[in-house]
């Protein structure tokens, strides 16, 4: 590309914005609103997923052993369980540890039950098993029940039965929201760009008739689209960033039991993603919309 053409293209881009300021404002707002919605739905999805993961990771299987099990047998049992597929971790909680733990909880609630026990440890040895996938907790628990030396296996049966459909639902809703808003914003933005180009179709036709190449016509539109997209993306990521920062702090303070994702790395990734998306949608949308008007 010749330098003069480059100068022409930049001048043309900003002339066009200056001469159609309201069309430009409309484009920026369309891109901004679409990306704000998209940004929020991404954070919604991230949190839905995080919430589901948090709930699921709290699922444990408690394996209580027979009183007669020796420490050595306990070790073998641990190995056997660890060797089962889909078991992610097994930790031994010895009866001594169990007693200490119990003592701590009791003391914090001002209870002296431990002293009443008079040095007798009523707790059996226990194994805490975590599954790699919450779906198989039930299955694993049932199989451990059959191992020798196992007295009792406890897991949150009702909890799992309710939680799993819920987390699955939560994730699908999150993905659905993102996909829906991504499609909506692309449609919205391309309609806006089409309108913008349509209003200038005569101009494009004339340019072609006096011998402008498609590339020469395309560049100013392309850069304008990219620029407006960038501005829209910038406004969107600022809006989403400030709002999410405030909202997540607020939720954390008032509804502490809700796990809110406050990952700075992810935060900046999403925001810069919005910025780049704005620019890319502006540029690509323009290129695609232009094609039908260049056929003269």
């Amino acid at each position: 590309m010749k330098f003069n053409s480059l100068r022409y293209i930049l001048r043309e881009t900003f002339h066009s914005i200056r001469r159609n300021p309201w069309l430009s404002v409309a484009s920026v707002l369309t891109i901004m609103v679409s990306l704000v919605i998209l940004g929020f739905s991404i954070f919604f999805m991230v949190n839905a997923d995080n919430m589901a993961t948090t709930f699921e990771s709290e699922l444990e299987i408690a394996v209580f052993t027979d009183k007669s099990v020796t420490p050595q047998q306990l070790g073998t049992l641990k190995l056997d369980i660890e060797r089962m597929p889909q078991v992610s971790s097994v930790t031994i909680v010895s009866k001594e540890q169990a007693l200490v733990e119990f003592g701590k909880t009791m003391k914090s609630s001002g209870n002296n039950l431990l002293d009443d026990l008079g040095g007798i440890n009523p707790f059996p040895d226990r194994l805490t098993v975590k599954a790699a996938d919450p779906q198989v907790v039930k299955d694993i628990a049932m199989r451990i029940q059959g191992f020798s030396g196992v007295e009792n296996v406890v897991y949150g049966k009702d909890f799992i039965d309710k939680l799993l459909p819920f987390t699955r639902w939560l994730r699908w809703v999150g993905i659905g929201v993102i996909v829906a808003f991504a499609i909506a914003s692309i449609v919205l933005i391309s309609i806006n760009i089409k309108m913008n180009i349509f209003s200038r179709r005569r101009e494009i036709q004339i340019m072609k008739l006096v011998g402008a190449t498609n590339g020469f016509i395309r560049w100013p539109f392309f850069i304008e689209g990219m620029f407006l997209g960038l501005v829209g993306g910038l406004l969107a990521s600022a809006t989403v960033g400030v709002t999410y920062d405030w909202l997540s702090g607020y939720v954390q303070n008032t509804l502490a039991f809700l796990p809110v994702v406050q990952n700075p790395m992810l935060f900046w990734q999403v925001l810069s993603g919005l910025l780049v998306s704005g620019m890319a949608i502006g540029a690509i949308g323009t290129a695609i919309s232009l094609r039908q008007f260049l056929k003269i």
């Binding site: 010749k2 003069n4 053409s5 100068r7 022409y8 001469r19 159609n20 005569r202 101009e203 036709q205 004339i206 340019m207 072609k208 008739l209 006096v210 011998g211 402008a212 190449t213 498609n214 020469f216 003269i296």
Partner: protein, 228 residues
């Protein structure tokens, strides 16, 4: 330089605009294209810079076959042809000077040279003081002259004009004819569709008449040949 062989044009809506036209125009000629309204004059002109393609037949311009020409070569064809459009085709949101400059900017010419040349071209058509006006601020005749300025600005080898005096009073009309005459003198081929009987009769140039899409007359030093 221009050759149409068995050219027919039927528009997508079924309108038959040209039927079996054979026409040869040499380099440096001045040709009037006459005929009643709806005869197909504009259509024939639009074939020459490939705004339209013929339905049948071949169109050769500068020994290039426009029917077979590839899409990306078309801009370079058009740069060698100045077109004075019947409806002017000025960009409404550009000043007159920017409009004329545009034909040079697509060539990648420097801003300074573009400016000098477009001022000179506007001066030539008598629009010296109107460079900063927008098309809607001009009269029909002035817009027409702006269109002429754009068409001649890069000294094209072929100039096609579709009723370039249609909106002008006789004085301005002759001004334009003077311009076309001089451009033709310098070697540019000029093809002009017109209804202006007195102009055709006085200029004593080749006259090609079309009626109902058919070529009905082709005379050297002809006359308009219709009653007005």
């Amino acid at each position: 330089m221009i050759q149409l062989s068995n050219v027919s044009k039927i528009y997508p809506n079924g309108a038959r605009a040209l039927s079996d036209i054979n026409l040869k125009i040499g380099k440096g000629e001045f040709v009037f294209l006459v005929g009643p309204s709806g005869a197909g004059k504009s259509t024939l002109i639009r074939l020459l810079y490939r705004e339209e393609k013929p339905t049948r037949g071949q169109v050769l311009v500068n020994n290039r076959n426009l029917v077979r020409m590839r899409e990306h070569e078309v801009p370079y064809l058009r740069r060698g042809i100045g077109v004075i459009f019947q409806d002017f085709k000025l960009l409404p949101n550009k000043t007159v000077e920017e409009n004329t400059a545009f034909a040079l900017e697509v060539l990648g010419m420097s801003t300074r040279e573009v400016q000098t040349r477009s001022r000179a071209a506007l001066e030539l058509v008598g629009l010296g003081g109107k460079g900063k006006s927008f098309p809607h601020q001009l009269s029909g005749g002035e817009q027409q002259r702006a269109c002429v300025a754009r068409a001649i600005i890069n000294s094209p080898g072929l100039l096609v004009a579709d009723e370039p005096t249609g909106n002008l009073d006789p004085e301005n009309a002759w001004g334009i004819m003077d311009l076309l005459y001089n451009i033709n003198k310098r070697g540019t081929t000029v093809i002009m569709a017109t209804h202006a009987k007195d102009i055709v009769d006085q200029m004593q140039k080749r006259v090609v008449a079309i009626e109902g899409g058919r070529l009905v007359r082709d005379e050297e030093k002809g006359a308009y040949g219709y009653e007005v």
